[in-house]
């Protein structure tokens, strides 16, 4: 037979565990957990859809370049010898002229969108609305950034 103090300690511990479980499994907590799971599913589905759209709208060569090199090269429609390097994952767009990096641009959507949609956004803005893209972009000096693209 256990001494009464041990039994009391076990009883208190059991009550504490029950209270913690009750707190965790109470309705608001369960609702919050379900909400988190739902948001996570939406996020995964959003990424999948964005990737599928990018795959559909890029040529085979463009998609291969993005996958292998980690960036997409887009030619300027108005400035000869200028190319933009759009990173696969969100980040700055590097601008090259005749092989020399001349500028780093920061442009972002005002609404959150998956990374693949950000790539598409940069590409479409550069190809179809370059002047506006350059107007809104924050420009950084290329010398202050490590050359990674």
């Amino acid at each position: 037979m256990f001494p009464p103090i041990v039994l009391a300690a076990v009883l208190i511990l059991a009550l504490a565990v029950a209270a913690i479980l009750w707190c965790f499994l109470s309705e608001p907590v369960l609702r919050s957990l379900k909400g988190m799971a739902s948001s996570f599913r939406d996020c995964i589905e959003g990424k999948r859809r964005a990737e599928a759209l990018l795959r559909k709208l890029l040529s085979e060569e463009e998609y291969r370049q993005l996958t292998w090199r980690g960036y997409l090269e887009v030619r300027s429609p108005s400035i000869p010898n200028r190319v933009y390097h759009i990173p696969k994952y969100r980040g700055q767009v590097h601008v090259y002229e005749q092989g020399r990096r001349v500028m780093v641009l920061c442009v972002q959507p005002t609404e959150p969108v998956p990374d693949a949609d950000v790539v598409l956004m940069h590409k479409l803005m550069i190809e179809g609305n370059e002047q506006e893209y350059l107007r809104v972009a924050n420009r950084l000096e290329p010398t202050s950034y490590r050359h990674y693209l």
């Binding site: 589905e45 990424k47 759209l53 442009v107 972002q108 924050n138």
Partner: protein, 82 residues
């Protein structure tokens, strides 16, 4: 078939329409075009920019809905980042 893609956090929301059927007065096709036009105008009013895209063709910015487009992609308003 035409397709309107609206980029969002949940991936692109799509509306499709069949221009040939709409030309034959198919009510569903006409309704689909009307819905696509409505969404186009709504997104433009929020500052979104629309592009007519076809793989292998030049990207074109458009300010009015084009039911002959293969793909129209609506990009949310952009701003300078950090």
């Amino acid at each position: 078939m035409g397709r309107l893609h609206v980029l969002s956090a949940r991936g692109d929301m799509q509306v499709t329409w069949d221009e040939k059927k709409a030309a034959e007065s198919d009510p569903e096709a006409i309704e689909a075009i009307r819905e696509a036009k409505r969404i186009f105008a709504e997104e433009r009013a929020k500052g979104g920019v629309a592009f007519k895209v076809a793989p292998g063709h030049t990207t074109e910015r458009i300010d009015t809905f084009d039911k002959t487009a293969e793909h129209i992609v609506m990009v949310p308003k952009v701003t300078g980042g950090e």
